[in-house]
Structures are given as structure tokens and as C-alpha cells.
């Protein structure tokens, strides 16, 4: 079974280890630049006939409108789902949601479920909870299967095994498939088509046997009581159609008001995630259809910190996220550290803001380190299909992290330093006085406190005088007696 992120160190520590993984660096640089190129071409293509920016505005607008009327939308969703024959459950947190899923599965006396790739079930640790209840949860998305068989952790929202190469995948399949089901063929090569075929055989056995399927949902339409899953492989559709019972765990932020609201979102999502005009499989289901597909349909509507996020005036825009992972693919930090360094199933720029929103500030060091895991370059905001201004949220969250520690009995060195800087920088005379010692300061920095800087970078030489001192001495260069040429 997969591991968990519990107990991960804070970002700079985890990143340091990840940066040393040359295979990871190589895989990520290759994969992210390929997908960036594909996405960019499709954005250009949209711009040739209409406007990508208008599409982004439409997508953001649909999600924002639903969030601003969340209670109404959710009650309506419950009503329409129920009318369609689905059973709706409400879960306050991960524990409640896992208990509901386990109870439903147990009531059908099963010891296994098949799973559609879903972020939310990873967020709540469903597989581990089901395992504790004696139920095996089989991941059926190819990349999630690789992660699960490798007893590994996902490192990307869309491509969770992005850190693995095909030789490693072959080795994992040979070693692990036989322990949980149909073994990989002994002559397995590392050809992608051969690996996919082995996964297909391995999974088919599980699809045909499983009586209970578990999914998330990309969208939930309040108007029609419809859930939507967008995927590439068709394995999701197997789980959504073959079992007798289907349990879908849906974050409450997934709701949109009307069927038409899906229009911009279904155009934005594949272009932003896989760099395709359209994803191969879009499955929609509205409760139970007699004689067709699962005859018992459960929907677990999950909060797990989302109402906390909704109360955050700056951060709530993160709930617009449609989990496309465009922000991961353009992020220069993610490209180098990979996803594990973020210590969460939600890595990258969106993870850096979403985790603190869901968990709170000043609660644990690891979560508090995430808003700082960015150079604020802004590439994520530029790429986000629903216009989440991630850099602004990061800056706001840094203030929330600092504020959460303001009352600590022992102030951090950093806090004292910034308090000192505030004093020096709020009066030009104090700053001018300090600048006389720039050379001394840089010298001290070189020898002592600036190891983080100087480990790989030189500090610049100190100038003979500050700009301020030059201006004063030469009357802004107008005093001819002090005139000198530039350098």
C-alpha cells in the first residue's frame, strides 16, 4: 500500500534532498517542458479564433458564482441527487468521510473496491482507512497504480508517477503485481506500450471482480444532480459503470450551478492539464439509471477545511481550482524539487496555498513553510485557467504565518531582524548612517551569517560610498569640482 505524507519535514529540508535526485530533476525538466509546450500551442490556437483570457474569465466566473452561493448550490445538489436516486452523505472531515465509505462498503460484505483516480480520496487518506477496515482499495489509474504498487507517494496532481521512469516502472510491475493480483508477464520490457498492456491485464481482473467502485468528481452540477469525471484512460469509466455500488467523495467546492456552467470548464481543463483540446473520456452520471450501471449510488459531500478556506477573503479563490496542474508544470520551484517536497497530495503552487488554507496557519511547521516555497515569479497565475492569483495569496499567507507566531514567548531571530529593519528603513538619516558600514556589514556577512547566500554565490564588493553619500557630496553630480567619469 502507498505510504503517507505524515511527518514530512518542512519544505527547505525536503527540497534539499529532492534536488540531489538527478533522475527526478531530469524527468521533471523533460516532462514539464513538454507539457508546457503542448499547453502553449493550444492557448495560441484558442487565441486565433477567440480569446483564452475570455475563457479564463468565464471559468473563474462560473466557479466564483458557485462559491458565493455555496450553501444554496449544495442544498440544491442534495435535492437533485436524491431525486435521481442517489444517497447523499455529508462529511465534516476526513475521518467522517472515510467512515461513511467504509460503512457502505462493509454493508455489502466486500473486501476490495476499485478506485477512479481522485485527489480528494488521497487528501482524506481513504485507502489507509479502508485497509484498516479490512478492505483493499485498488487504484486503477495507470500512474496511481505505479505509485501504489511501488509503495510510493504521488508527486504530481495529474501525473502522480512523474518522478518514475519506464525502467523503474518495469521493475515495480515485475516485483509488485504478483503480490496483489495478476502478475506481470516475465518477459516484460520497458516499452511504454508493453507496460500499459501489462497494467491493462492486471487491472481487468479487478474491474470484472469488484462489486464496489469509489470515485471523486471533477464537477457536480446542482441543477441536474450530475457528477462529472474527466480522464484519459477509460479505467475511470470501468469503475463508474461495472460495479453494483458506486461511492463518490466530492469536495463541496466542486459544485457548479448549471449544466451550461460546464462549458468553459470542460474546455479549460484538458487544455491546461494534459495539453489536449479534449480529454478522451468524460463520464457524467445523475444518480441511478435503472438497469444501467451501479444501482446503488452514494455521494459523500466533504468539507475537510473547505469552509475554513471559504472564510479567508484572499485565499478563498483557491477553491476555484479545477486540479489541472498547469501551475505545477510552469513552476520553476516544482520543476526542480518535484512534488514530494511539498509533503502533501497537493504539491506545487496550488498546494503551497491550498494546504495552509485547509489546515490553518501556525498549526505545524511543515504547512507554515509552504507559502515560502515560491520565488513569487508569477508564472502560476499566468497559467491558471481559473485565474487564481497564487502569488498574491502566497504573500497574504506569509503575513498570516508571521501573525500566527507574533505572540510567541521567544521571538524568532527573523522577527527581530525585520523589526530592526523597520526602524532603520523608516528614517533616511538612520539608513544613511548605517550605509557607512556597508563594507563592514558585507564583510561580516561573508564570514558569518550569510552562509545560505555565500555557499554558491559571491556577494558584491562594497562601493566606496553609497548613492546617497555621492549625491550629497557632489550635489547630485552638479558640483564640477567633484566631477568624475562613470565606470
Amino acid at each position: 500500500m502507498s505510504g503517507t505524507f505524515v511527518g514530512m519535514p518542512k519544505f527547505p529540508v525536503a527540497a534539499r534532498a529532492a534536488l540531489e535526485d538527478t533522475q527526478l530533476r531530469h524527468n521533471l525538466a523533460h516532462a514539464t517542458s513538454t507539457i508546457r509546450g503542448k499547453r502553449a500551442r493550444l492557448v495560441d490556437e484558442v487565441n486565433e479564433v477567440s480569446s483564452w483570457e475570455d475563457l479564463r474569465l468565464a471559468g473563474a466566473g462560473v466557479k466564483e458564482a458557485a462559491l458565493l452561493s455555496l450553501e444554496t448550490q449544495l442544498l440544491r445538489l442534495e435535492e437533485t441527487l436524491t431525486a435521481n436516486g442517489a444517497i447523499v452523505h455529508w462529511a465534516r472531515d476526513a475521518e467522517e468521510a472515510c467512515r461513511i465509505v467504509a460503512t457502505v462498503a462493509t454493508s455489502h460484505q466486500v473486501d476490495e473496491v476499485v478506485k477512479v483516480k481522485s485527489m480528494v480520496t488521497q487528501e482524506i487518506g481513504l485507502n489507509e482507512a479502508l485497509a484498516a477496515a479490512g478492505i483493499a482499495a485498488w487504484e486503477t489509474d495507470l500512474a496511481e497504480l505505479i505509485v501504489q504498487l511501488g509503495d510510493d507517494l504521488p508527486s504530481h496532481i495529474l501525473v502522480p508517477a512523474i518522478h518514475r521512469n519506464r525502467a523503474e516502472v518495469r521493475e515495480i510491475f515485475l516485483r509488485a503485481m504478483k503480490t496483489v493480483g495478476r502478475p506481470a508477464p516475465e518477459d516484460l520490457t520497458d516499452e511504454p506500450a508493453v507496460l500499459a498492456a501489462a497494467a491493462r491485464e492486471h487491472l481487468r481482473e479487478k474491474f470484472l471482480r469488484a462489486r464496489v467502485g469509489v470515485s471523486g468528481a471533477n464537477f457536480a452540477v446542482a441543477e441536474t444532480g450530475t457528477l462529472v469525471v474527466v480522464e484519459s484512460e477509460g479505467n475511470g469509466r470501468m469503475c463508474l459503470t461495472l460495479p453494483e455500488v458506486l461511492i463518490s467523495v466530492v469536495g463541496i467546492e466542486k459544485v457548479v450551478s448549471t449544466w451550461d456552467d460546464l462549458d468553459p470548464l470542460l474546455r479549460l481543463l484538458p487544455r491546461s492539464s494534459t495539453g489536449e483540446r479534449m480529454n478522451p473520456y468524460t463520464s457524467t452520471w445523475s444518480g441511478v439509471t435503472p438497469g444501467d450501471g451501479p444501482q446503488e449510488v452514494h455521494v459523500v459531500l466533504l468539507d475537510n477545511g473547505r469552509t475554513r478556506a471559504l472564510a479567508d477573503q484572499v485565499g478563498r479563490q483557491a477553491l476555484r481550482c479545477i486540479r489541472c496542474s498547469a501551475c505545477l508544470n510552469v513552476c520553476p520551484v516544482y520543476e526542480r524539487t518535484g512534488g514530494h517536497a511539498y509533503g502533501s497530495v497537493y504539491p506545487g503552487p496550488i498546494g503551497a496555498i491550498l494546504n495552509p488554507l485547509l489546515k490553518g496557519f501556525g498549526v505545524d511547521e511543515q504547512t507554515d513553510s509552504l507559502p515560502y516555497a515560491s520565488s513569487l515569479c508569477g508564472a502560476c497565475f499566468e497559467a491558471c485557467p481559473v485565474r487564481i492569483d497564487i502569488p498574491s495569496v502566497l504573500v497574504d499567507q506569509r503575513a498570516k504565518v508571521v501573525d500566527a507566531h507574533r505572540d510567541s514567548r521567544v521571538p524568532k531571530v527573523e522577527q527581530l531582524a525585520f523589526k530592526g529593519a523597520a526602524v532603520a528603513l523608516s528614517d533616511a538619516r538612520r539608513l544613511g548612517f548605517g550605509e557607512r558600514f556597508t563594507k563592514v556589514g558585507l564583510g561580516v556577512a561573508r564570514r558569518l551569517g550569510a552562509a545560505a547566500w555565500t555557499s554558491a554565490r559571491d556577494l558584491p564588493p562594497a562601493p566606496a560610498e553609497s548613492f546617497r553619500a555621492w549625491w550629497k557630496r557632489t550635489d547630485g553630480g552638479r558640483d564640477e569640482s567633484t566631477k568624475e567619469s562613470g565606470r
Binding site: 527547505p12 508569477g378 523597520a422 562601493p463 548613492f467 546617497r468
Partner: protein, 250 residues
């Protein structure tokens, strides 16, 4: 037009020649630029690290220093971005209505150097001569926060003697990111190393940008690696003439 130079704290303390280059350049273009001596810092280091309360007195000093000017010119896309996009947040945090209205008054008048030259003065050929091979890194805040776009390149293309080489992956962050450079030093260095690799691959002798903060980071990596490329602020290249060269070897 009453024009102030906002030199920025890093240029004031570490790169006075960049400030002097802006003065020389603007005077050559007929602008009588003033240096309000009360200025200190734009407060970005505090804001971007989360110390909003500590940023309040610094922003107050900023608006006091620059009140009454028609244009405030700065050789930094990042500091211009801070003034234009973050000062209002700090003022809001202070709860001081007077500070909020002062910020509303001052911050839209802040221009990054290339914006001031191209948009306000309407020049792209500033009469510069710089006989070197140069590549240009568009720093993230200039590129994405301010959207300076082609302006610096238009200015560089008009410089006589200058050979401009395209930087591959130019829009990728160099990894400076303010306190990110020390809080996440390893990641910052990894990003910077890739940037240096791109810069060196161009074969340029000089790397230029509109921000000395990013150039301190990339330049610091380059000198440590004896890379053979020097970092020179855009202002110094634009100030340079045959009789008064700037941005030469140190």
C-alpha cells in the same frame, strides 16, 4: 514635470553606479531629476516575508518622501511593482485612512525605468553607445507584475555598438525571489544555476536586466563560477556613451 529618482535601498547601498547612471541618462534626455533624500526602501522585503506591521512605517516614509512628484522613476521592476501593487495592502493593514489616500496618490506615479523612457518620454533611442555582446534577462516582476514587455529590448536594440543575443528560456525565474534566496537557498541556487547555464550558452559577455536584486543573485553565481560573463544593470548600458562609458570591466 517634477521627476524623482527612487534609487532603491539595494542600489543606494550596493550599486550607487546604477543610480548615477540613471541620473546621467535622464539629464542627457533633458530631465532634471531630483533625489528626495528622505527615501529609504519600498518595504518589499517585509511584505514578501510576511511582516506587514513592520512594512507600515517604511511605506509611510516612502509616500512622505515622494509626495508632490509627477513621476517617480526607479531602476527596478520589482520595487516599482512593490509600490504599485503592494503599498495599498500595507496601507489597508495600517487602518490609517490618510496613509491609504497618500498611497493612492503616489503609487500610480511610480515608473520602472524602461516604462518611463518609452511611455513617458517617448524615446527608444537614448543615444547610447555600448560596444559589447549582451543578453537580456526579463526579471519576473518586470515581465509579469508590471508587464514591461518589449520596452527594454526596444531600448537595447537602439544602442549603437551593442550586439543583442536572445536568452533561451528567458521568461524562467532566476531563483532570486527576495528572502526566498536564503530561506530556500538550495532551490534558489538550483534555479540560478540553470539560468547561468542559459546565459553562458548565448556566448554573451554581458548579462543585463532591469533589477540589480536578480543580478546580484545571477552575477554572484557567475563570479563564483568564474563564468566569464558580467552582470550590468540596463541603466548603465543606456547611460553609456563614447565619451562617458558605463558598465565597463571592474
Amino acid at each position: 514635470m517634477k521627476v524623482a529618482l527612487m534609487v532603491t535601498c539595494i542600489n543606494d547601498a550596493l550599486y550607487p553606479e546604477t543610480g548615477r547612471a540613471v541620473v546621467a541618462l535622464l539629464r542627457r534626455l533633458g530631465v532634471d531629476v531630483e533625489f528626495p533624500a528622505a527615501q529609504t526602501c519600498c518595504a518589499q522585503p517585509m511584505v514578501n516575508t510576511g511582516y506587514l506591521d513592520e512594512a507600515v512605517p517604511v511605506v509611510r516614509t516612502f509616500v512622505d518622501a515622494f509626495a508632490g512628484y509627477d513621476a517617480i522613476v526607479t531602476p527596478s521592476g520589482s520595487c516599482a511593482g512593490s509600490a504599485r501593487h503592494q503599498h495599498s495592502l500595507v496601507a489597508k493593514r495600517s487602518g490609517d485612512a490618510a496613509l491609504q489616500s497618500a498611497v493612492e496618490e503616489v503609487s500610480p506615479r511610480v515608473y520602472e525605468l524602461s516604462e518611463f523612457l518609452v511611455d513617458v518620454l517617448g524615446v527608444t533611442d537614448v543615444g547610447a553607445y555600448y560596444p559589447h555582446t549582451v543578453t537580456y534577462h526579463p526579471t519576473c516582476h518586470s515581465l509579469r507584475m508590471l508587464g514591461v514587455g518589449e520596452r527594454p529590448l526596444q531600448l537595447l536594440r537602439a544602442v549603437r555598438g551593442l550586439t543583442l543575443l536572445e536568452l533561451p528560456g528567458a521568461d524562467q525565474c532566476c531563483g532570486f525571489g527576495g528572502t526566498f534566496a536564503v530561506k530556500n537557498a538550495d532551490t534558489s541556487i538550483a534555479m540560478g544555476t540553470d539560468k547561468v547555464r542559459s546565459v553562458c550558452g548565448t556566448g554573451a559577455e554581458v548579462l543585463t536586466a532591469g533589477d540589480n536584486s536578480c543580478l546580484t543573485h545571477i552575477g554572484g553565481l557567475m563570479t563564483r563560477q568564474r563564468a566569464g560573463v558580467r552582470a550590468v544593470h540596463l541603466a548603465e548600458i543606456l547611460a553609456s556613451t563614447g565619451s562617458e562609458p558605463w558598465g565597463e570591466r571592474r
